[in-house]
């Protein structure tokens, strides 16, 4: 175990626990401004580490990189195994990026219990990072569940809505219910490994390690069972239509910072591409699974978009727009070809800039009018031109205008889906029209037109901190939109490996476990 650690600096562990340790340190700080500064510093160091990982990451490689492997409970085959590959490494960067922005946003918008808030936020960062970098399924599950604790408090204690207690409970219960099924799925994966270990007389009898689990074949009926069990966990979290009703509540009642994380970090769909599809390729390819998910995807796209169209509250609109976007992501994933997977992965990252960005915009609106309901707005462009401009840019990214990141992802998803099944693809394309309709209609009523009755004509435009957030988002949106190459290179190797795995199935990979690239 020490050899592996010694092979390189344990940068992922640092990434993982820095915010957590930071949160603990914050406990000792009393001054509120000091708390803010410390939290920001911690998150910036974390971002620097994440950027370092991204820069040192070897692109176009399917290898697990920066791996750290320590046995944890050897008897049960549970280990502390961290690594990133082309699928997860971008999420690491995104998590660190969004946390910094959330802290910047919360600087002057969170006014009570600042310390506890920042601690929750940093704890949330650790657990989220944990979900993205864990290769051991039990470790993954631990982080998956731990995430609920800070989330619960964030919604409950700092939410702005009257129903926040209910929303927090609903979110937690929903996720927990799904996790129960997922845990059974994980257990079954372990039992399957055990079955093969006994047959082949290997030393290790149990394992929850993704790489080990990938190396044993799983009978198709088992795969299907496990697939649906894990589906429950991921689909509830994503959320996939029709398991979505916690999302509008949590986003509307919770604080903006929490909404950014919930809408920006697509943990549920990450679960599908990280675990379900590679571990259960035959099940993922099975006719029933694909059809069910495609139909749910189309339903989500149209249902979410039509719902979004009539929402007078911007945050509720965004919740349904998220559901609509997740429909795209699910369809792309289960197109099961290169473009579909690539597009979905890129879109998950994109949503961290566009949908999360729109939540920041919602926050800017909220700071000015103490609501995101349409009735408080109208003609804002005259008062706050900068806000209006960034609102439009980020919104256009979210509806997939070419030149923005949204287009690249959406185009690839639609292309992949169309390749897999043109009927589903053709249905999905309708989302392109609805997306434009719901965003532009809201924008027209809130931002354009004559000044609304309740809009003060002394409203301040974006202040410095808000500008920092808006500009960082805009840069990412245009970068990925105009020159996505670095991001596509990072994903390339892992996506290709996943496509190969889907082609060959579980039986063919009995020979070599996935190569580990230690650094």
């Amino acid at each position: 175990m020490l050899e592996e650690l010694a092979a390189g600096f344990p940068i992922l562990s640092c990434l993982l626990f820095l915010p957590f340790v930071g949160a603990a340190v914050l406990w000792l700080v009393d001054d509120e401004d000091m708390v803010r500064t410390s939290a920001l510093t911690i998150s910036l160091v974390e971002l620097a580490l994440a950027v370092f990982v991204l820069l040192r990451f070897v692109p176009d490689s399917a290898a697990m990189q920066f791996a750290e492997h320590v046995r944890w409970i050897p008897a049960l085959g549970i280990s502390y195994h961290l690594a990133v590959d082309g699928i997860s490494v971008l999420f690491v960067g995104l998590t660190a990026f969004l946390t910094v922005l959330v802290i910047v946003y919360s600087w002057d918008t969170i006014r009570h219990q600042v310390k506890l808030y920042m601690m929750c936020l940093l704890a949330l960062e650790t657990t989220t990072m944990g979900v993205f970098v864990s290769l051991d399924l039990i470790l993954f599950f631990v982080f998956w569940e731990l995430m609920l604790i800070p989330s619960y408090f964030l919604i409950k204690l700092w939410g702005g809505g009257a129903e926040r207690h209910h929303a927090a409970l609903k979110y937690v219960l929903y996720t927990l219910l799904g996790s129960v099924f997922m845990l059974v799925g994980i257990a079954l994966l372990d039992l399957n490994f055990h079955h093969w270990a006994v047959l082949r007389h290997t030393d290790q009898l149990y394992s929850f390690d993704l790489l080990d689990l990938l190396a044993v074949p799983i009978p198709i009926d088992q795969q299907i069972l496990i697939f649906w069990l894990m589906f429950m966990g991921f689909a509830f979290k994503a959320p996939v239509f029709p398991f979505h009703t916690w999302l509008p509540d949590a986003l509307l009642e919770g604080p903006i910072g929490m909404a950014v994380v919930l809408a920006g970090l697509k943990l549920g769909t990450f679960g599908f591409i990280r675990f379900s599809i590679p571990l259960l390729p035959e099940a993922s390819k099975s006719h029933t699974v694909v059809t069910v998910i495609m139909v749910l995807g189309i339903a989500a796209i149209t249902y979410g978009a039509i719902m979004a169209l009539i929402q007078p509250d911007f945050r509720r609109l965004l919740a349904f727009s998220s559901i609509s976007h997740l429909g795209f992501v699910m369809m792309g994933l289960f197109a099961l070809n290169y473009q579909g997977l690539q597009g979905s992965l890129l879109t998950m990252i994109n949503l961290g800039f566009s949908t999360a960005g729109l939540f920041f915009i919602a926050g800017f609106l909220y700071s000015r009018q103490q609501t995101t309901h349409l009735s408080a707005f109208g003609g804002m462009a005259q008062q706050v031109p900068l806000l209006a401009s960034f609102f439009l840019l980020i919104g256009l990214a979210s509806i997939g205008l070419p030149g923005t990141n949204g287009f690249v992802g959406e185009f690839l998803i639609l292309l992949g889906t169309f390749k897999a099944n043109w009927v589903f693809g053709a249905f999905a394309v309708t989302g392109v029209v609805f997306g434009a309709a719901y965003f532009l209609w809201y924008y027209e009523r809130a931002i354009l037109g004559p000044l609304g009755k309740s809009v003060k004509n002394t409203m301040a435009d974006l202040q410095l901190r808000e500008m920092v957030i808006a500009v960082s988002l805009a840069v990412m949106i245009l970068w990925i939109g105009l020159y996505p190459s670095p991001f596509l290179h990072i994903m390339n190797g892992s996506i290709q490996a996943l496509v190969d795995r889907l082609d060959h199935g579980t039986v063919a990979v009995l020979t070599e476990p996935v190569q580990r690239l230690d650094r």
Partner: protein, 658 residues
């Protein structure tokens, strides 16, 4: 290997892009003077580059393909941001940068003193970039970037006066309606990729031999949906008349001369696919013919000077589609060019009128302007004669060619549609001229006092367009079917239709066309100059027809009733459904879970932990961690998990063992 032409090609879109960046980011720091110089200067530089490229293409006849950089890649897909410059692209480049330059210069005068002056030019330059990408792309993805990019700029510029409700609504409408077309275009792109495994034009066209006729029809029809949206054809034309909410130079550049002809560009670019499908060709011709006539009838009675021109644009675009549909691609491109000349001229002169009248657009409140603004009047008249199709002005040659092509290929239905359309065009355009410039003044006193001729910076570009409107047709397309343009475009648009016509037929057709135009003029002269009361009598007599036309056949209302309102109602129903049914179910389940948890706590304590350490460990750990932070709640949930887990594990184990 260094190639000057390749460098020039790469530079063409770069200049306006730099102006966008400068004016967009720093525009508020410097004066309007600097901003407009950057704006028109950059377009001028692009125009010079285009001239250089054009000279090279003219001299060598070579086709240039230049890769700027790799945009999207992965698996079997590679999309480069790359350009293809051939004669077809050259023609569009000349029109876009040439007319674009003139309109930019004109705008300096027209937009003078506007608060959003710099913003206006930023959007205009962004439009230039998008439009250039649209016509220069060497593959469908770059075409699509430009395609939606021009749509965005159209949105921004229609909504330029964003505090006006009507402008804001018109902008959203334009974008959304265009997106319907774009969705069709996307489908076409995907079909093309599936069939050819590439999105590059040259590679696609090289493999056309293996395309089945049905697939060709599918692709062509999907492309047509896109073209119909962008070029405002039936049934997606409704956004264009509303788009007149934008400043007049925008109407001239985007909604007349360039963007709306993108659909024609797309069809001509893909004519090899359309040629494979008679059904698609027939559809294009029907769409074009019907639109030409339909929009012209609405144009007959409109009272807003810009709206008349807008319907006229829809109608003229119909002619271009009609030309494509009957295979007269060169004639279509020819009409695009002449139309760009005279319609830009008409819009800009109309802008000059509006400018002179301090913003008045209603022709019922004009009249007798010919003496007060003589230059504008003369130039507007040139535009009118050109669009009406009276020789030797530009519009005559291109329109005659389209009609002639229909006639000699025995497409008499389309010839008829086009002929009636031509009559109506001549009539409503002269009606517009008479009402605006002749007769007694109907202006209010205040406006009348302030009427003034526009400054040179506006009249200058008008004169240039006037010259093009007079001579453009002769230069480009004389003699008919064998003009310079036909030779230049022959490699890309295919030779004109097979029927060689006798000189007598040609002359007869030209005579007929001229006659039709003159009759239209005559009727307008009679109704709006000689006997104005007759016009009112007629509108009173045919009240039903008149009201229907005035209300544009109630198409907007119909679409609202059929699509917009039902979608909103569906949304409201779904919202109820979501809150009541889906969430109701969820709350029910949650209720049960809470009841169950009390029981499960007991099970957890005495039964589960011992048996399920294996599986529950992580979860247990989670619960323990959580407890440190808060006792009670998390413990409670953990109990639910473990209890549920236990039950599930039992069930699963039964299934597995079976």
């Amino acid at each position: 290997m260094f190639d000057l032409t390749d460098l020039l090609i790469k530079l063409i879109p770069v200049f306006p892009l730099l102006a966008v960046i400068a004016n967009g980011l720093l525009g508020s720091r410097y004066s309007h003077e600097v901003a407009h110089r950057l704006a028109w200067g950059s377009v001028g530089l692009s125009f010079l580059c285009v001239i250089g490229v054009f000279a090279d293409v003219l001299r060598t006849g070579a086709t240039h393909e230049v890769v700027a950089y790799q945009w999207i890649f992965g698996g079997d897909l590679t999309i480069n941001l790359a350009y293809l410059v051939d004669p077809l692209t050259c023609v569009w480049l000349l029109v876009v940068t040439g007319i674009g330059f003139l309109i930019h210069v004109y705008s300096v005068g027209y937009m003078h003193g506007e608060a959003g002056f710099t913003r206006f030019f930023t959007y205009m330059n962004l439009f230039m970039v998008s439009m250039l990408l649209l016509v220069m792309g060497n593959n469908y993805a770059v075409l699509f970037i430009g395609w939606e990019g021009v749509g965005l700029c159209s949105y921004l510029l229609i909504g330029y006066y964003y505090d006006k409700v009507s402008a804001a609504k018109a902008a959203s409408k334009a974008f959304v309606v265009n997106r319907i077309g774009d969705a069709g275009f996307l489908l076409a792109i995907f079909l093309i990729f599936i069939n050819f495994k590439t999105l590059d034009y040259t590679k696609v066209f090289a493999q056309l031999g293996q395309l089945s006729p049905d697939m060709a029809t599918a692709i062509a029809l999907c492309l047509l949906v896109g073209a119909v949206g962008k070029s405002a054809q039936l049934p997606l034309y409704t956004w264009l008349p509303d788009a007149m909410e934008g400043p007049t130079p925008v109407s001239a550049l985007i909604h007349a001369a360039t963007m709306v002809t993108a659909g024609v560009y797309m069809i001509v670019r893909n004519h090899a696919i359309f040629d494979l499908s008679p059904i698609a060709m027939q559809t294009v011709a029907i769409v074009g013919g019907c639109t030409a006539l339909f929009a012209a009838t609405i144009g007959l009675v409109q009272t807003d000077i810009k709206r008349v021109l807008a319907y006229s644009t829809v109608s003229q675009l119909g002619y271009m589609f009609l030309a494509c549909g009957i295979g007269a691609y060169t004639a279509a491109v020819f009409h695009v060019m002449t139309h760009a000349f005279f319609k830009a001229l008409l819009f800009l002169s109309a802008g000059s009128v509006i400018h002179a009248l301090s913003g008045e657009q209603d022709i019922r409140k004009m009249g007798g302007l010919s003496k007060k603004i003589p230059w504008t009047y003369r130039l507007f008249l040139i535009g009118t004669i050109a669009i009406a199709g009276i020789p030797p002005l530009a519009g005559f040659w291109s329109k005659d060619e389209i009609m002639g092509h229909a006639f000699v290929n025995h497409q008499f239905l389309f010839y008829g549609l086009a002929a009636i359309g031509a009559f109506l065009t001549s009539f409503y355009m002269f009606r517009l001229t008479y009402l605006t410039f002749y007769g007694a003044s109907r202006m209010d006193h205040h406006t009348e006092e302030h009427v003034h001729e526009s400054p040179m910076v506006m009249v200058g570009p008008l004169m240039a367009l006037g010259v093009l409107s007079v001579f453009g047709g002769l230069i480009l397309g004389f003699p008919p079917e064998h003009g310079w343009l036909h030779g230049f475009l022959a490699p890309v648009a295919g030779a004109a239709g097979g029927h060689e016509t006798s000189v007598a037929t040609t002359l007869l057709l030209m005579g007929t066309a001229t006659g039709i135009a003159l009759v239209g003029w005559g009727l307008a002269h009679f109704l709006y100059s000689l006997s104005p009361s007759t016009a009112d009598n007629w509108s009173a007599k045919f009240q039903g027809a008149y009201t229907t036309l005035l209300n544009k056949y109630y198409v907007d209302e119909l679409y609202d009733f059929l699509f917009v309102e039902p979608t909103k109602r569906l949304g409201e129903f779904l919202d109820w459904f979501d809150r009541t049914v889906i969430d109701g179910l969820v709350n029910g389940v949650a209720q049960m879970a809470e009841w169950g948890s009390a029981g499960s706590t007991w099970i957890e304590k005495y039964v589960v932990y011992a048996g399920l350490n294996v599986i529950g460990f992580g979860n247990h750990l989670a619960a323990r961690q959580g407890r440190k932070l808060q006792s009670g709640m998390v413990h409670h949930y953990a109990a639910i998990i473990v209890a549920g887990l236990f039950l599930l594990a039992l069930v699963v184990q039964l299934i597995v063992q079976k």
